[in-house]
Symmetry: C2
Subunit: 272 residues, 2 copies
């Protein structure tokens, strides 16, 4: 069975997509064709959106599912005329919240993803630059400023996780690739030892690691199963010996790895 799902917003559409996709994930028997219509901020655009939605309903033989986060009431009333099943996120929750909080909501458009000058936004951008500047052990002299330093073997997921921690949570994450030499030593490299309370280890199933490395360098010693087993063994022994908290990234998304790191370290998510 096929249905259209529309995400409609007067802003970026990201909130409508996030909630909508979380809800649609609960209905995996149905194939949804997803369409996002951002910046619907005038009656003209709203009417054009309604025309599109009605066409989709006709084509698929069923009303579209519509997730919207439009604030403006006159635009909302146009969208309401579409042949669709509406999941009206703001309308459903804003009035009860107004009552509970005893204040009126500001009903301002696109608040959630447009505060480009807020302290927390600038903090996130700083954190992204920090992750880029301190990627892959390139520099260690800024470890003083890091909130967390991820360690692990090459291709265990350090870089994407650092970027996600920065982008989503405003956390300054550096990363340092543990080499065979580091692991054979009886102590951590000096640059890491000084900040050992900030270290967090990643590990990964050796077969998965070998598959990932093969995509980069097929038929190399680097990608061989034997080498991957060896490195993962060594790195896990190092974590145990040095008492470094660690998790396996196998089968985990960067969202999951990142939130598990926050949970273990007690690092705070940046407030928006």
């Amino acid at each position: 069975m096929k249905r259209y799902a529309y995400f409609i917003s007067d802003g970026t559409g990201i909130t409508a997509e996030t909630l909508g996709n979380a809800l649609l994930a609960q209905f995996d028997k149905i194939q949804f064709t997803r369409v996002t219509l951002p910046y619907i901020d005038s009656p003209e655009k709203a009417n054009a959106a309604v025309a599109k939605i009605n066409e989709a309903a006709k084509e698929s033989g069923a009303p579209a599912i519509l997730f919207d986060t439009i604030i403006d009431k006159s635009i909302r009333s146009i969208i309401d005329t579409a042949d669709a099943f509406k999941v009206d996120i703001f309308e459903t929750f804003l009035s009860p919240l107004e009552q509970e909080l005893s204040v009126e909501s500001s009903y301002s458009v696109g608040k959630s993803h447009s505060s480009a000058n807020s302290a927390s936004y600038l903090h996130r951008i700083d954190a992204i630059n920090f992750a880029l500047d301190n990627d892959d052990g390139a520099r260690t002299r800024h470890y003083e400023d890091a909130d967390v330093i991820l360690v692990g073997v090459s291709r265990s997921g350090k870089t994407p996780t650092c970027l996600y921690l920065a982008m989503q949570f405003g956390i300054k994450a550096a990363n340092y690739p543990l080499t065979e030499e580091d692991m054979m030593e009886l102590s951590l490299p000096e640059s890491l030892r000084k900040h050992r309370h900030k270290l967090f280890g990643l590990t990964i199933d050796p077969e998965r690691l070998s598959a990932i490395r093969t995509e980069r360098k097929a038929n190399s010693r680097y990608a061989s199963l034997k080498q991957c087993y060896h490195e993962v063994d060594e790195v896990e022994m190092l974590y145990e010996r040095e008492n470094i908290p660690f998790i396996s990234t196998t089968d985990k998304s960067i969202e999951e790895i990142s939130t598990r790191i926050l949970q273990t370290t007690g690092l705070k998510r940046s407030q928006s």
Copy 2:
């Protein structure tokens, strides 16, 4: 006035945070203390969460606002006992959706951010690696594979935007810094000319640019107002002359810049 806001989930908590923050942004007169409790997946953890929430209510003298995306009914029923105003995202919308779609939801935990082996997740990770490998004009030989190539002067926002496009939407975005030489030439560099239909320009207010560059290199020619005015003038002339679509990044978040780029280019968001 101060209130506690709790985001509670049996998964990462990211969906609850995104929706909750979008709603709370409408109440800017109230100072919310935000707390996320992810991975609440056992009665023990749920009881501990309730204790925390009740303590917060006592401390602030008002019930906490609680955004939750817990699927399991027995855990949900424990959370229900907390002294809080509940915004029950899934409960509110899942039953009506089940009726509309004539299927039962799968009620499975943490669907939205844990599908680490899905095609769309792997696609996002590929896109992140692509953005890193093709940052700052480092390489141009992979432009064949790019979905979009951002151009602009140094520090106009290209890199964070490329990373966001990759992470959120699975879009392969390269970027190329336009230098003074490029701008003085009467035609685009060969590596860009071949892919001109993929080019998208960023521009920025010269005073803002100067402020950003000053943070990196104070008192340099690079950061001087005069130089910034000159470069921005030149780059905007280049966009006009070469018919490259462009937007200003001044006062825009990477979320806004990215969704505007999608809107202008017609690039599709990756489906989850």
